[in-house]
Symmetry: C2
Subunit: 234 residues, 2 copies
């Protein structure tokens, strides 16, 4: 699907680090988008008992080139040793700090249909530092049911749920028709990041970061290449 960036995309290029940490340089959006993949590989290597790695090994695991990996890391600092490589645990920690993964973020999910249900139950979120703290749905038949240990709340409770749990991220898994209203409500409730699965462009104020996943669009992009290769469909 489609990965749409708004909010920070409006900035001219890179993203300003916080309090002069790292190397004081900005981190380009394309680099930020690859950092989670590096952390994932490093944690996997660490679990396998690997102590030191190289840009070649790490890049292969993440599906990028060694040059790109080193370039990406250079925006964060100098965490390797020439002639030696990278300490797996240390590099993992440094990237995690840069990404802000040392604090657990709280997430609310709006729209507990098939997809919302799957996301609420997705164990990888917890493994990677996120806590699902609230579920919201507009359907009275769904409200009150328990999903993944949480009782689904009505739409009217959205603001209270976000506030009470101090959630900073909202996931929209509703039908497209109501996605903008949900988005607006989430922003009003105070979230600063939104991940939407609804197939519709959403508008958010500049201080809110929006990412969009459109699985049907992803298939259509695959169809384009299928089409080009096989010549069907024209």
């Amino acid at each position: 699907m489609d990965t749409q960036r708004t909010g920070p995309r409006a900035r001219t290029g890179a993203v300003e680090p916080g309090a002069g940490r790292s190397r004081g340089r900005d981190v380009p959006p394309a680099t930020v988008a690859r950092l989670p993949g590096y952390v994932r590989v490093l944690r996997s290597l660490s679990q396998d008992g690997v102590v030191t790695t190289s840009s070649e090994e790490l890049a292969a695991g993440a599906g990028v080139t060694p040059a790109q990996l080193r370039k990406d890391l250079s925006f964060l600092g100098s965490y390797g040793r020439r002639g030696v490589g990278y300490d797996v645990v240390h590099l993992s920690e440094q990237i995690s700090v840069a990404l802000g993964l040392t604090t657990q973020r709280r997430v609310v999910i709006v729209g507990i249909g098939n997809l919302g249900h799957a996301l609420a139950s997705y164990s990888v979120f917890a493994e990677r530092g996120f806590a699902v703290v609230g579920l919201i749905d507009a359907d009275p038949a769904v409200v009150g049911t328990t999903v993944a240990g949480l009782v689904v709340q009505p739409s009217s409770a959205l603001s209270d749920v976000v506030s009470a749990a101090d959630a900073t991220i909202g996931i929209i898994a509703t039908p497209a028709a109501v996605a903008q209203d949900v988005c607006t409500a989430l922003v009003a409730a105070g979230v600063v990041g939104i991940l939407t699965f609804a197939p519709r462009a959403l508008r958010v104020p500049p201080h809110v970061d929006l990412r969009a996943v459109d699985v049907a669009s992803e298939l259509q992009i695959l169809a384009f290449h299928d089409h080009r290769r096989t010549g069907t469909g024209a």
Copy 2:
């Protein structure tokens, strides 16, 4: 999540159209990725009875700038009229032809856990030209159950299911640990496009197009901006 492109990404830039149709020019990957969004907006406008639109209106609906929209369309041909705008139905058809959406593509889903179940039941796929024709799972407790009108088949049947239904696209919704094996099996069975939700880099041969959605990575990217804004987590 993360949108990873392999296969065609290896080409130097743009994508060769099929038999000299459109304008004979290549379509850049970034443009291809936006075309589904334009079709979505055009179909919505059409349903609302709108006959003619402008680059301004269409771009607003898709969340891009008018200049970018016109630039994107210029790779497909000249389908507008200066001073007037675009015929909604005609432009929608032209982009659909370029994307190869005039032929229905057949999709198999591997991994019928929470996410696979949600995808199998996702009505938007059918609305946008895809038919889910096979469901595969490795769990004997899941095999034989009916999901979205299809009986889940065992892993051993993967190749037969792909062949019998002539599926060209595979969706991987399995745990990360088995994703590469499933990917390899799908390629061997003959699919030419793969959409994976497993948080792991996958390798495919050059003729296969791979797109990857990693929802946990998407949240981590949001966390980065949250972190930069609030200063927490360092």
